[in-house]
């Protein structure tokens, strides 16, 4: 599918029947109308975040801001109330960053090693192993929540014992560490899938030649496969980053309160039941939550789409 995805991104439109001027006008018209519909929510979000509250409740959401203000952004970042603490979302952005970086790196690296073994060092039953790992991508996470909560509770108990004994928990029971663990485990299926399909097309002769020259398992991986893996690493890192940053179910279940990731904080800000609804602050917070993945999309859309396609269809 990566080849097809590249063909899609390269866009060499095929020659079809020549259309009349009216047909072309209709095609462009429809495409532009759709583009406007798809863009509208984002545009409205940005405009709303830049308006004072009375302009939102009294005015029209599709009008440009009359009294442009950046106060909602400052408030969302620094002083908005999430639950009972009113320190804005900056702490939660940091929570997400601390969670997403190790989770992405570990799951991608493990996926690379798994893909390497499953293509270049095959053993009897490799297909079953891969199939079982692949199914893990698609389970509804509801079916693992209860055992996960129990196990993470046990880890918290170990952490408490360690604190009593040594004064330090060594990461046991830390919500961020827990989320990293969860995201690594449930990301492994996809990262393995990506690297397996990529290494499948990598010439096995090169690996065999290096083997004959006396190179070992890790040496071949480091010297031959890794230097040629940049594209698939980018795809995998982007895919994992987007998924983990955007996760809500695990974040809301296993990291409550001040340790929750950005998506959970945004949900709590928007759905607070106290006080006036500050639409502008909500939208500023939503854009901040969306910004990292949107920036990645704008900078590396090609790899982003490739990841999506590879995640849906086997290569």
């Amino acid at each position: 599918m990566t080849v097809a995805a590249d063909a899609l991104m390269a866009a060499p439109p095929r020659k079809l029947t020549r259309h009349s001027m009216t047909t072309r006008a209709v095609i462009y018209g429809l495409l532009i109308v759709f583009a406007i519909v798809y863009l509208m929510p984002l545009v409205v979000m940005v405009m709303t975040s830049l308006k004072p509250l009375q302009e939102i409740t009294g005015g029209n959401m599709f009008y440009l801001p009359h009294d442009l203000t950046f106060e909602p952004w400052k408030k969302a970042w620094g002083t908005a109330c999430v639950g009972l603490t009113c320190a804005g979302i900056k702490g939660y952005v940091w929570n997400s960053v601390r969670m997403v970086i190790p989770a992405v790196l570990v799951s991608s690296l493990l996926g690379a090693l798994n893909g390497y073994v499953l293509t270049k060092w095959r053993f009897p039953g490799h297909k079953l192993v891969f199939g079982m790992m692949l199914f893990a991508c698609f389970i509804p996470f509801q079916s693992v929540l209860i055992p996960m909560a129990t196990i993470l509770g046990k880890l918290g108990g170990i952490g408490q014992t360690l604190i009593d004994a040594t004064g330090y928990s060594f990461g046991f029971g830390d919500p961020t560490v827990n989320l990293v663990l969860v995201h690594v485990v449930y990301g492994l299926g996809f990262t393995t899938l990506f690297f397996r399909n990529y290494y499948e097309t990598f010439p096995t002769e090169l690996v065999r030649a290096a083997q004959i020259d006396g190179a070992g398992f890790f040496q071949i991986f480091r010297r031959i496969l890794l230097p040629n893996s940049a594209p698939i690493f980018i795809v995998t890192v982007i895919y994992q980053f987007t998924n983990i940053w955007n996760d809500f179910l695990f974040g809301s279940t296993f990291a409550a309160g001040d340790s929750s990731p950005m998506t959970v904080a945004l949900y709590n800000i928007v759905n607070t039941s106290t006080g006036v609804i500050e639409y502008n602050v909500n939208m500023a917070a939503a854009i901040i939550a969306a910004a990292p993945t949107l920036v990645v999309y704008v900078l590396a859309g090609r790899y982003f789409v490739r990841g999506l396609m590879a995640g849906a269809v086997k290569g």
Partner: protein, 315 residues
């Protein structure tokens, strides 16, 4: 040089008198894969089994092992037909059919339409295409926040249409318990249809242009070409998209909560939210886990044959 070394190495590898170091080297690939596979075995298969076991107990707020047979499933089964007043499970199933049906059908139709329109030698495709795809980079919580604002009758679409002069226009679905689920579907379609478009577009670009040229020479109209040649060729992609969308619909969770604002009164209940609330807030973990098992079985029934056929294609 390599040809000289080759037989020697081959001999060494095949020699029955392997020392411990050599034997260890043979096991390295499996040892590298083992931790990942063990994690998947425990956290996916073990945990699913654990949830299955809990579904046969009368676990309340905490897990216990008082087995009560099929009672939790019997409860779900009787709730399936409890329509007046509707049980939460009945509401969840009805909403699942409504939301899932609309989501899958509209994503497929819109995705195919956009892909066909974009495939007509469009100028500026590079600008248009990313606009249909960017929602995929967003978190469902952000999407939900945006659409909740957009559809809000007080300040959103309804208000804007009133400002245009059509004051009898009425659109308050997002705050109407009976219509909320349709708003969830709208937001979901907005988010995912671009993905289907990308899948179809990649497939369209992958079609052999010789076939199309032949059709053109035979005087087939553009419509006939699509109807008779292109769409039938794309049937496998269509199946893939259908399966991926169905599985995403069943797993939808964050979107319901964020579009409806905490799913007030369970009006937009889906099996995923049903499971969560019965397990973590209503203290009926036995019933919650039974519903999780139902979700898992449904997804397995869809995904296992799909993955099996995808894996079997390649040697």
């Amino acid at each position: 040089m390599a040809t000289v070394i080759d037989p020697i190495v081959a001999h060494a590898v095949q020699s029955p008198h392997l020392n411990i170091k050599d034997r260890l080297r043979d096991w390295i690939p499996r040892l590298v894969l083992a931790p990942s596979f063990a994690l998947i075995l425990i956290f996916v298969y073990g945990f699913n089994l654990w949830t299955l076991v809990i579904s046969f107990t009368n676990s309340k707020a905490f897990t216990n092992f008082n087995f009560i047979g099929w009672a939790n499933y019997a409860k779900l089964w009787s709730w399936t037909f409890q329509t007046d007043p509707p049980s939460n499970w009945y509401t969840a199933l009805v909403n699942m059919v409504l939301f899932g049906g609309l989501y899958v059908v509209f994503c497929l139709v819109l995705g195919l339409a956009l892909a066909i329109l974009l495939d007509q030698k469009i100028r500026g495709e590079g600008i248009l295409r990313p606009l249909y795809l960017y929602p995929l980079a967003l978190s469902f919580i952000v999407t939900g926040t945006a659409w909740k604002l957009l559809l809000d009758p007080g300040i959103g679409l309804e208000k804007a249409v009133h400002d245009l002069g059509w004051t009898s226009f009425h659109f308050d679905w997002v705050v109407d318990p009976r219509m909320m689920i349709y708003c969830v579907a709208i937001a979901g379609i907005w988010q995912t249809s671009g993905f289907v478009m990308a899948m179809f577009l990649a497939a369209l670009r992958g079609i052999d242009s010789e076939i199309l040229k032949a059709a053109q020479i035979d005087g087939a109209s553009a419509y006939a070409t699509y109807r008779r040649i292109i769409i039938p060729i794309m049937r496998p992609v269509f199946m893939s998209a259908l399966i991926i969308l169905t599985h995403m619909a069943i797993k939808s969770y964050d979107l319901v909560l964020s579009v409806t604002g905490k799913n007030p009164g369970g009006a937009a209940e889906l099996p995923s939210t049903f499971m969560y609330s019965y397990t973590f807030t209503r203290n009926q973990m036995g019933v919650g886990s039974a519903s999780a098992v139902v979700m898992l079985m449904t997804i397995a029934a869809i995904m296992v044959p799909y993955l099996y056929s995808e894996l079997r294609e390649k040697p």
